[in-house]
Amino acid sequence: MHALVGAYVLDAVDDLERAAFERHLRECAACRAEVDEFREAAARLADTTWSVPPPALRANVLDAITTTRQDPAVPVRAVTPKRRFHLVAAAAAVVAAAGVGAAVYAIQDQRVRQERAVAEAARASEARVRAILAAPDLQVREQTLTSGGRVTVASSKLTDAGVIMLAATSAPGEGRVYQLWTIRDDDPASAGALGEGQAATVRIVQGLPASSAVGVTIENAPGATTPTTPLDALVQL
């Protein structure tokens, strides 16, 4: 995670990576110090870009501030429940981790492609994930994986959708993949398998509230049509 410090200061990360890195920063004083120092250096780059602003800008800005209330000195926590904030951060962390974690097992070229795909998917689904996690009737359930790690399921009847966040400690062995299942009337349907070497994912599942449970298994790559192994985790909804 800390390898992102340069990209973070240069604003060269996407929103999810930014959220994940800022979470990391909260726990790491040395990293905050490095960020502060890098920001000073980056600001010097900005110092080289003077440009006379259009005269109207001054009047507009000075006018705008007369009707803009200042924030209080100590940032007030958002009224959103804490839990939800953590969830968004957790989703961000998982997506970021999926890009990095998957890489360890893959060869360079494959890794670049995979990371890129993850980044693209993250950008596309991020707004949707946030919308679901912001639903007022959100139900959140969490289970540990027998193989190590955690699966979190957030589901909302109002949006008729849910988000499954899988964060395993490590990817299954070669030729094996994590697979997600939604279970309805004791009948499991695949909600997608992860790639080989992949240990984390965030999946949006349309219609999830109609299911009674979410299951996780480890299957032969690229995944199975019905579960062939005992459940690694079962989350009752």
């Binding site: 240069l10 996407d14 110092d47 870009t49 440009s51 602003p53 800008l57 800005v61 200042q70 000195a73």
Partner: protein, 187 residues
Amino acid sequence: MVTPVLDIEALLARVARGDEKAFARLYDVVAPRVFGLVRRVLRDVSQAEEVAQEVLVEVWRRAPQFDPGRGTPTAWIFTIAHRRAVDRARSERAAADRTVRAGIAAVDTPYDAVADEVAVRLERRQVRHCLDELTGLQRQAVTLAYFQGHTYPQVAELLGAPLPTIKSRMRDGLARLRDCLTTGATA
């Protein structure tokens, strides 16, 4: 620094207490740099004007939260400005997918001067000198991200380098820049 740091810090402290006159003076000191940076990233004057206004109003709004223990007021202001400029550039780019071509066209002149910029010669000379101290890949990674608002995967693609390499070059590039700018303060 072109403007004494203490001046800005004193002004910002007054702004934090809601002093509109102090803000007008702060505006005169920092607006050309804010506008210059935003314009550099966005390459469009009317958009730059819009975003610069958002940035400066945000500076007013968040002034009470500025923490001198975390750094200089200019770094704080430019952090706000850069983030907003990059956010706007990305949403524009997403609409009109012109990232790669624009990026490649600009790789050759990562820190060229804009014609009507007010030259801040000494500062520029030192920053340029320090940018020249970086390796080619460090310099390109840092400037493509900072001045053109590219993400590190985009920079990796533009430069044909692996992602971990680009992440590292951004970090060690900034570290070298920091070292050069601090030791060379009197150059």
